[in-house]
Assembly symmetry: C2
Homo-oligomer: 467 residues x 2
């Protein structure tokens, strides 16, 4: 579909129709994404400060057939926030960043608030908003919902979807859907909230959300357990879940390769074991009052027998933060080394060990690579990233990148019936993968729904569904 440019004529129209609207020229930060895979274009930047203003902008774009790229914090890793074609209007939610209401069970926040701000608001009410991402200082809650963000606490609390009670959304033609109910249960009609969540700005623009808050656990603790293998990690998780009634808040697998990268390029972190283990898991527990986290870890260690080689339990809040700093520094070290190909995949949890072994063997036959495989093993979600051999650079492998990605994704989607986009979304990076791996019936339904809700195709064209 050819879209009209958001040119000076359109800009003049919009200014005339909406005198108070902030309009200007996109800055570089509005056209970039973290991995530098895409260079965005944008003819006009709008920063509406209210849902009515968002509605006005979309109404005008719909009438004129102008493409709109909704923009949150810009931290997405699949190019959902930047288009490389056309002359779209960039719709930044940054001026809609307020807290509308809050009680002990939930709160209503605007889309442009950073995830960190949302977490702080919850904490100020003695509650917790348990969505945690390395990028939470910049990521905006609207973007987290538009991409159904995951992170380190999904195991216990679910992804962004599970933490959202209601939405305010502006549809393609400017219609406002007032869906900000704060209910735990609501079976009145089709679940459009979950349809919007994860649709990456292609079905509507989320302007506010009603979020679920949880009570912080009475006792919390964090530990590193060194394990002999991914199979032991999965068995340890099962043991822990059975003993601890689902009180495992995080369970993150870390490979020795990740620690080596940290030692090689930083950032500087404290390493928990004198000698880096082949595999380790970062475990966080959130327990009832009357249980001591340290004791629970000690009991788990004892019960685990040969599933565990060694353990370090955080003895202070400082140490607890240091443990998490190591985990959250892994992506930065990866970026400094420079991955040839990164894969955000998921398989059934029980298949994790087999997948890691099979994928490694497959890649070893393809060439000389280093693999750093880490992630949310309790969700069956791995960041399986392929790096150059020592002394080489990612640029040396440009020809093999596509083959590596294809091989890993074929394996995930084929033998394991897994997902090639577990938590990062589809964006533009994986729109072709979606066509390759998704069930044709699902793709046809997606296209039918897109056509029904955005008949002129103005919302984030080219993201999720290619034209």
């Amino acid at each position: 579909m050819t879209m009209r440019a958001a040119d000076t004529v359109f800009e003049a129209q919009l200014r005339a129709a909406m005198p108070g609207l902030w309009l200007g020229t996109p800055e570089p930060r509005h056209l970039e994404e973290p991995r530098g895979r895409f260079r965005g274009v944008g003819a006009l930047l709008a920063k509406p400060a209210s849902v009515e203003a968002v509605s006005g902008v979309l109404r005008a774009c719909h009438a004129e057939g102008v493409a709109v790229v909704p923009l949150g914090g810009g931290t997405g890793l699949v190019g959902g926030q930047v288009t490389e074609v056309g002359a779209p209007l960039i719709l930044s939610l940054e001026r809609m960043a307020g807290l509308r209401s809050r009680d002990g069970q939930s709160m209503v926040v605007e889309a442009g608030a950073s995830l960190q701000q949302v977490r702080d608001w919850a904490e100020a009410a003695g509650r917790r908003f348990p969505l945690g991402l390395a990028s939470q200082g910049s990521a905006q809650i609207g973007g987290c919902l538009a991409t159904n963000a995951g992170g380190v606490n999904v195991l216990r609390y679910g992804n962004a979807r599970a933490l959202c009670l209601g939405l305010e959304v502006v549809l393609a033609d400017g219609t406002i859907w007032h869906g900000l109910r704060q209910l735990r249960k609501d079976n009145t009609g089709y679940d459009l909230r979950d349809l919007m969540i994860g649709s990456e700005g292609t079905l509507g623009v989320i302007t506010a959300a009603s979020l679920r808050l949880v009570e912080p656990p009475a006792e919390e603790g964090t530990a590193f357990f060194a394990v002999p293998s991914p199979a032991a990690a999965v068995a340890l998780l099962e043991l822990a879940q059975g003993r601890l009634a689902g009180c495992v808040s995080a369970f993150e697998l870390i490979a020795r390769q990740g620690l080596s990268f940290l030692r090689e390029v930083g950032p500087e972190v404290q390493f928990p074991f004198a000698e880096d283990p082949e595999w380790m898991v970062l475990i966080e527990l959130g327990l009832p009052m009357g249980m001591e986290a340290e004791e629970a870890f000690a009991d788990l260690f004892e019960a685990a027998g040969e599933l565990v080689l060694d353990a370090v339990i955080a003895q202070s809040e400082t140490q607890r933060l240091a443990f998490w700093t190591l985990r959250e520094s892994l992506p930065l070290a990866n970026r400094r080394i420079g991955a040839i190909s990164s894969h955000d995949i998921s398989v059934p949890v029980a298949e994790i060990p087999d997948f890691i072994e099979t994928a490694r063997a497959m890649l070893a036959e393809m060439g000389d690579y280093r693999i750093n495989c880490f992630g949310h093993v309790g969700d069956g979600n791995l960041h399986f990233n392929v790096f150059p051999a020592p002394g080489k650079r990612r640029e040396d492998y440009l020809q093999s990148r596509e083959a590596i990605k294809r091989a890993v994704h074929d394996l995930v989607a084929g033998a394991y019936d897994g997902s090639v986009s577990a938590e990062h979304g589809v964006g533009r990076l994986k729109a072709e993968d979606l066509e390759r791996y998704e069930d044709p019936a699902k793709l046809a339904m997606m296209r039918a729904i897109k056509a029904a809700l955005d008949p002129r195709g103005i919302l984030n064209p080219g993201a999720v569904l290619r034209e």
Copy 2:
């Protein structure tokens, strides 16, 4: 839309096209619903035994414009399973009731399996499928998903939606969507699973589901706490959640009126307190190893101070079951008394006490009624049911029924921004309510999606969306 009848000519066509298909005449049980509000019609009954057979039936109905009413266990309370108009084909899933696969994390079951059977399969694997309903012996898992069933453990484990990882669905034109992935995380495209869940057979026919299993908690316990008021119940829940790190598995509010009904009409149950308290809550805890449920209840009782008047902790499995029998007998006693109007509503949890008081006062001004209000207070979900004054029968109030329902629903949807269908769905009983209370933008989106996925309108016509 006028549909073609599933007449003898159509039946002959279908027999010719699908020689092995079970076809016959609907029995009374295929045309009834538990409350007797609707008398169903059906010209032809099909019992396909495979997803391919379901596909064949729908392809034929789509081609000929024959209406299809998908049927599970028939326990739904809003008439979603029976139509009173036309001459539709009744599509019973009862012959698709198998277990396709199972591991420690999930299992794939066919739609026609009863919820009890599904729970038993989970238990046989040392796991739990934590969806619990009074009707679980008859309710089928396909229907539970089609209606997004709730029940007593939603507080901890979520509703049917939260326990489903993937679906196999036959669409209106017979296309099969193979979406049975067993993944905890999957962000590949629009969330069509959640769109199908809760669509009550109007967007597709669920033929199988991949379900999430959980580890049974190491320690479990059940108790009745007598509380002075609904406000105390809500405060007690908050206290319990804060102390017990979310280990509260159920928290059910019961009014003295419900106990009086049980004493009046049975069934026979054991009453926990010598004198029925004005309000009590049934609490179930599922705790980590090393914690004693009895001790946790005792600690909670002490910490609760004036929030609690008295407590009885189950001392054996027999007593635990007796506690639950009381709770699960409430709907039967209600049915024996005969409600003038029943309301499955939800409001924000913190608003529960205020809502109960306001609704009672409102009804007291309207006439002489008894109110039995009970339910899942932790979900903000009450079954707020209005009964005849002593010595009168529901038949004496037929003129006021509509006014009562309207007044309660207006209050819920208005002042409390609540839901008039918290867990039972819309069906045919509340299709008009949906039009009255739902946001017009949501209704328009629902109609657009229905038209896009079922353009001939053959799937469960009149349910959820009126014509």
